[in-house]
């Protein structure tokens, strides 16, 4: 087979090869799927067989225990305090990390790669995993939850904002340098005005994630409303569990919406 012939037009051989490749790809995806499904014990028959007990559970949850809602006010407050404190501390810690992880601001290569590596390492850990580790370290409760969200917020915010920061207009940075300004002045006069709206928007976004994460931190003992959910389910108090889910849902939707409105104002 000569090269020139292949360049002129796709030969019959190439067309057949293309179809075989497509078929092989479908078979490969199917094999991976079957392997995963068997691993988790997925079975359609079992799903259909379990449907009645699933509906029984739902039925047990109705009506929710409305009276229980009074006792959820404090745990809900604690949940959001956890999210707010975690977000604020994480955001403060993110600021130096953002500047270190942006190559246009931090021109020291070893420091840049070390910071980026640290940020990526911190980002691979899920907030629930942080919480589980921290509960072992500092004990049960919302403090562990707040620390978990702090580490998570720091890493995610640093990742998102530093990438936006690397895409800002470098012209003003050069202008400050040409005026004889130092690094801090460059950050204040050329970097901050360009990145602050984006940073604020990402901070609110991280806050939204944290609000959702904070509601389940209790499942690993890191405080908040999740503790009530865990207890209600373990004690088979399904009307209470339903009330927890309902209250969480309503408040999360409200805060999410509020944060979204704020974020749109920023852009």
């Amino acid at each position: 087979m000569s090269n020139s012939a292949a360049e002129e037009k796709p030969s019959r051989f190439m067309l057949v090869m293309g179809k075989i490749k497509g078929l092989l790809a479908i078979i490969l995806v199917a094999i991976i799927y079957i392997w995963s499904a068997r691993g988790v014990g997925f079975s359609l028959i079992e799903i259909i067989g379990e449907l009645p007990s699933f509906f029984n559970l739902l039925w047990d949850m109705v009506p929710p225990n409305w009276a229980y809602s009074i006792r959820l006010i404090n745990p809900l407050l604690e949940t959001f305090q956890t999210a707010i404190a975690g977000t604020i501390l994480g955001t403060l810690l993110a600021i130096p990390l953002i500047l270190l992880c942006a190559s246009n601001v931090n021109r020291n290569n070893p420091l840049y790669f070390a910071s980026k590596g640290f940020m990526n390492l911190m980002r691979t850990i899920d907030p629930m995993l942080y919480a589980a580790i921290l509960v072992a370290g500092v004990g049960l409760g919302a403090f562990a939850g707040m620390l978990a969200l702090m580490f998570f917020s720091m890493a995610v915010n640093a990742k998102l904002t530093s990438e936006s920061l690397e895409a800002i207009d470098d012209g003003p940075l050069e202008a400050i340098e040409a005026c004889g300004g130092n690094k801090l002045e460059m950050i204040k006069y050329a970097v901050a005005p360009q990145i602050l709206p984006t940073f604020a928007s990402y901070t609110l976004y991280v806050f939204e994630i944290n609000i959702r994460a904070s509601t389940v931190l209790g499942l690993v003992g890191a405080g908040g409303i999740g503790v009530n959910l865990d207890t209600s389910l373990n004690l088979f108090r399904y009307p209470n569990a339903a009330m927890v889910i309902l209250a969480t849902f309503v408040v999360v939707v409200l805060i999410d919406h509020l944060s979204n409105v704020l974020r749109e104002e920023l852009v």
């Binding site: 040409a178 005026c179 004889g180 300004g181 130092n182 006069y189």
Partner: protein, 262 residues
Amino acid sequence: MEIIECEGLGVTYPGGVEALKNVDLTIEDGDFVIVVGLSGAGKSTLLRTINRLVEPTTGTIKVDGRVINNLDKKELKEYRSEVGMIFQNFNLVNRSSVLRNVLAGRLREVPTWRTLLGLFPEEDVEEALSCLERVGIKEKADSRADELSGGQQQRVGIARALAQEPKILLADEPVASLDPPTSHAVMQDLKRINEEDGITTLVNLHFIDLAQEYGEKIIGLREGELVYQGPASKVTEAKFEEIYGRSITADDQLTAGGEADV
């Protein structure tokens, strides 16, 4: 008296591009010099080497009798504050006010703790406002920079450089983003400032008609080499063709090609 003296100046960028080759040139105090050449000839590199935004690879640069190749960090900042720079794309912070952009020119005069808190002394704010007045846009001081037209933005850039009270002004293609009437207005501003304050001014241009109209002296660069240095009056079309290494076309003239001529 010479204010800038370059001897054997060469710049090789990482990657091997030789932007400047063995350039010897002298610029007299108070000169208004136009640097001409095709894009890629090294005009921008020459200007940026003079304020050390680009590091020279070989040779020396003497400014005001002092070699500036090996200044330490503090000396370099001090030196840069004596050299104002004006950019093709203005390099303003769009979201900040005009006044705040101009105050950037005062950074070296004010202690860092004050600049970081935004607490500029009254006299520095006055200085910034008077710089804006000199370029005729004092009333825009509180506007956001991106609310201004291109010509006005470049004037903010000039005011920022003036606020440094510089000995030297470097203007890197200051009119390349502007229309012909605005280009003339900005060139007239630069020329006026040079005449009134005696600030040595280097302007990169690629339009030969602007170069001849405003330049007292012309420096010609071709492929990183200095090919002309002398009075503008002696630069003929033939000389420009030698600098450009090709015949002059309508694109090399601001007012050619049927564009507005005001």
